[in-house]
Amino acid sequence: MAETTNSGPAPSAVIDLKSRLPYHIEGNGSEGRVERFLDAFAAVLEHTDYKPLLDSYCRTTNKCNRCSVTCPVYQVTGDPRDVPCYKTTLLLSIYQRYFTLGGWLNARFTPNRFELTEDVIAEMAEVFYRCTACRRCTQECPMGMDHGLITRLGRYILSLTGIAPKALQVSVREQLEGETHNTSKVPATAMLHTLEFLQEEFSDQFGIDLDVPVDKKNRDYVFFCAVSDYLMEPDTLLGNLAVLHAAGDWDRWTIGTGNFDGINYGLFYSDWHLERIIKQLVGEVDRLGGKNILIGECGHASRSAHDFVPVFGGAQTRPVVSFIEYTLDCLRRGKIKLNPDIITEKVTYHDPCNMSRGGWIVNQPREILKSFVKDYVEMTPHGRNNYCCGGGGGLVSIDEIHDFRMKVGGKTKADQIAATGAQICIAPCANCKKQLKELVEFYEIPCEVMGLHDLILKAIEIPGGKSAEERKEEAELYAM
């Protein structure tokens, strides 16, 4: 698909969010916002290691506009404000004006061109939250500048100034200071009910009774998935249970009731929250004496655990395993059997950015799918250069920008899915599933979005349970 800038809807048609900032909560009113922003920026520069990064980026921004070519948002809007380099320049020029010797000289000797004002902050708030920080632009930048990191730093300073999406702020507050310690306020008892329901469903389908090991000590794996899976994605969890049972590792894993939420919105907009959530997660694993951290199907949960447990874990650092890696391992060792002729539809795979951009989980799911799916088709581009679903970076949980996500954020991905003509689109990430389902519904694409383990559930053969064939007929009977 040629990546020339296609003629997306005229910019005016795109929702101009500047007038609609209400989804940003205001900590302490809007007056003195410039001073508070500069104070926050100064504090960040003082206590963290961002200063050398900003110094070298100030110098090497080449303004060659290569990154706009690959940015899904800019592809659609064509609005200069969406060029990744423009966003970075916003923050860098503030840094250059207020925190460097050059800025000091400029302020004294030249009628300085840049002054931080209210609307610059408003524009930053809007621009930084139109970008999903999928870091596709970083690969295109000849200087290798990480615009995702700068966007995240900009959001971090805005959050310190009191501007952050209400949805994220509330869920993180619940996760850190609420008593349920998870983003969707799911109390432990509710989680246990869900597990009972899953056990009943599992015995209906397979005829095998399971007992989910909860709060078991010194297990090999401590399972964390996005807490929204318990509410909205039963099939994925069933798939997980099926794989665990079939692989015979039933007594090597457990779920902690203290904290069973792998979601980490800190990754999107605040180092402070990121660190505290990671510490909470590692604390739970330490409480249970688990040896490894097993992350369910969630893009940003696996990345934040995989990248930041070593950074913040300290002594409690544990190796992090993604469920996809675990399933592939079982498949390769022949611990699970997948019936290749159950899935007849055309299947395609969407790479969640947080998992694939770093090159961590790219080929594993493909190997699993190709083992039991006859008609598999790839989107282009895929793998490390994949397009973002449009809901990343926490945008999916902000409902006010639903239209933006549909018309702008996800449009390129929607065209991609439509182009493959697949009936099933696999997206092993809670946020991607929610966004893609909305996309599919919005553009009426005849495609069903499901997790990788939903498909595995259909095709898995568990000795002693009903075979995949029988379950397929029952399902069709039930569907009529």
Binding site: A43, F99, R108
Partner: protein, 658 residues
């Protein structure tokens, strides 16, 4: 703003300046060793001792005497205000002597042999005694300073031993200091005729030690005030300095009439300045006594030369003014006035040393010595390094106060302070390596191109064309290097003797085009150095005009005429002779190509032309005086005789007289 933030801003600019001077100093030091003493300094045979020896060493040592004076007052006599100043005094002494000795390394010709006086002795020499005492005293100050340094570096046992022996060190320090300050003075006893009468006095040793003691105390007072100004103004300046940003007008003032209270440390500064003033009053008496007893000194003073003006200025600022100022009550009250007095006295002392060492010898040397750029840069570079070491030590060790302790355990709450005018975050704008490296980036290249000797070589003045003694130009007087010792040349006599018209070419071998008698000084312009006579710019125009070249800019077309290949350099150029065949004669027929680019020095041009012929004729016509220098070089032909043609006979008369 807490006290810590308030003060860190003040020292930042001063440290920048010190860093800049240090980097410039480093460049100058490198150049000093690469190019040697002659090219980098203005020292010469008439002025053997210059800025480094006199200003850095002698006045540096004189100003750093506070180590042993305060050591005596505070440590031996245990007088109240002085015992608190023992540690700072020792630090100032250590750094002062360190800077002096380090600057000496650049002054002596063979610095890697600095240790020789330890091995080769000469007990009669004052310099030997100075060397031993100064080096031993430097070690003593280091030993006295080490307990403060070891406080943070561990080795508690060693620290214990050293602090116990502190008493002994102080006593040895006092003896060594009194010895070397006296002999620093008597260094100049050895030049009775050469040093100016005003400063050459038999009691010069006594004058040196007394003035040094006074000046040292004054300098320490100045440093104490500056330290308080930088780090904690309320200690010395009391309330006057900072009251919510409002600076009160009355300076100090009595606490009775409601004026701002005195700073707690002001009495220390006052004690130092008063003690210094007492000592300087003794110095004043000695000076007056010296004037009274030595009539030639009085005569020199009343002679009204610039030396006597210097003498009066030095006496005023070193002795008279400080003593008078300290007698006035309000002066003793106000920190500013005390600082000015101390500064004045220290300046006076330094000026006295420079007077004795440099200005005193001007009349004898017969030339005015002014230090070269590299001398100044190294002098201030060394002092800047000492300054940086001073800041580093007082900020990291408890010398004046245990600031570093308070800084470490008080988790300094970071306050994002913005510079009000430019609204730029100046608390940690750039510190440490980043700031110093930026200064280095600007200062190093700048220092290099301003100090690099080859860039500074002033082109020697052109040689002077020969003077015709008479209208017919048959005798010429050649005084090329304008030193008055000219040579007489019988122009027409030589022409006839060597064969008329064709012989002209022997001297006028390379005339300007269309000129048959171009004088030698036209091309041989420098007395000693070669002169590049090829004028590139002119040749562009001449060639274009000569060959009538066309094109937009004819000059540009003429490049091809001489340069064949594309890389236009001297190597690829045509030889002169190829164009100038008729009006040039190859001087040395050996290589046909005239050495066309550079004319030899006027000196060798003349000698290579005249001397071979003269020596050969001296033998063939056995006229021995021909090959003697005095045949041409007469000394100081009397003015009257200049036009008189019998001049040649007079010279011969003298020779025949024997």
């Amino acid at each position: 703003m807490s006290e810590l933030e308030l003060t860190t801003d003040r020292t930042q600019r001063i440290k920048d300046v010190l860093w800049a001077l240090t980097f410039a100093g480093l460049v100058a030091m490198l150049l000093r060793f690469v190019f040697g003493l002659g090219a980098t300094t203005n020292l010469d045979d008439r002025v053997p001792w210059g800025l480094w020896k006199i200003f850095n060493m002698i006045s540096g040592a004189a100003l750093a005497t506070c180590g042993f004076t305060v050591g005596f007052l505070g440590h031996v006599l245990h007088l109240k205000p002085f015992d608190r100043m023992v540690k700072p005094a020792i630090l100032v002494a250590f750094l002062g002597y360190g800077a002096s000795l380090f600057a000496l390394l650049f002054d002596i010709g063979l610095p890697w042999r600095f240790w020789h006086p330890f091995v080769h002795w000469n007990i009669h020499s004052f310099l030997f005694e100075v060397f031993w005492c100064v080096s031993c005293y430097f070690v003593i100050t280091f030993l006295e300073l080490s307990p403060t340094l070891l406080e943070r570096l561990g080795l508690a046992k060693l620290r214990g031993v050293l602090s116990k022996a502190a008493g002994v060190f102080v006593i040895i320090g006092i003896t060594l200091s009194s010895l070397h300050h006296t002999s620093l003075g008597s260094l100049f006893l050895v030049t009775p005729q050469r040093l100016h009468a005003l400063w050459y006095s038999p009691i010069i040793s006594l004058l040196f030690i007394i003035s040094a003691i006074g000046g040292g105390l004054m300098l320490l007072a100045l440093i104490k005030t500056l330290h308080s100004w930088w780090y904690d103004p309320s200690r010395v300046f009391g309330g006057t300095m900072v009251r919510e940003g409002v600076v009160c007008k009355t300076c100090g003032g009595d606490s009775e009439n409601g004026a701002t209270p005195e700073g707690p440390d002001l009495h220390v500064v006052r004690a130092l300045v008063t003690a210094g003033a007492w000592v300087l009053s003794v110095y004043l008496l000695l000076k007056i006594g010296d004037l009274v007893l030595r009539p030639e000194a009085r005569a020199a003073l009343l002679a009204g030369t610039w030396e006597s003006v210097l003498y009066v200025v030095e006496l005023l600022s070193a002795a008279i003014l400080p003593v008078l100022l300290v007698l006035i009550k309000p002066v003793r009250r106000s920190p500013y006035a005390l600082a000015v007095t101390a500064g004045l006295a220290a300046f006076g002392l330094a000026l006295n040393r420079v007077d004795v060492g440099i200005f005193g010898y001007f009349r004898d040397a017969g030339e005015l010595y002014f230090p070269s750029a590299i001398e100044w840069v190294i002098t201030f570079g060394v002092l800047a390094m000492a300054g940086l070491a001073f800041f580093f030590i007082i900020e990291n060790f408890s010398v004046f106060d245990d600031r570093w302790k308070r800084l470490a355990d008080s988790e300094l709450k970071f306050s994002s302070s913005f510079d009000r005018l430019t609204w730029v975050w100046n608390h940690r704008l750039m510190t440490g390596l980043e700031r110093a490296s930026l200064i280095a980036l600007i200062v190093l290249p700048l220092a290099w191109i301003t100090l690099y000797p080859p860039f500074l070589e002033s082109t020697p003045p052109d040689t002077r064309a020969p003077l015709a003694v008479d209208a017919a130009r048959d005798t010429l007087r050649i005084d090329a290097n304008r030193d008055g010792l000219d040579a007489v040349f019988a122009h027409t006599a030589h022409k006839q003797r060597l064969g008329g018209e064709e012989s002209c070419v022997n001297c006028h071998h390379l005339s300007m085009p269309a000129d048959r008698a171009t004088p030698c000084s036209e091309c041989h312009r420098a007395m000693e150095a070669e002169t590049v006579i090829f004028n590139h710019e002119q040749h562009l125009a001449w060639v274009a005009e000569d060959k009538e070249l066309g094109g937009w800019i004819p000059e540009n077309q003429s490049c091809v005429e001489c340069h064949s290949g594309q890389a236009r350099s001297a190597a690829s150029a045509k030889a002169c002779m190829e164009c100038h065949r008729e009006d040039m004669h190859a001087v040395d027929p050996a290589n046909g190509r005239l050495a066309q680019f550079a004319a030899t020095s006027y000196h060798s041009a003349m000698h290579n032309t005249c001397i071979p012929c003269h020596t050969e004729n001296a033998l063939t016509q056995n006229r021995p005086e021909l090959d003697r220098c005095t045949t041409c070089h007469q000394f100081g032909v009397p003015e009257g005789l200049e036009e008189n043609l019998q001049m040649r006979e007079l010279v011969e008369v003298r020779i025949r007289r024997q």
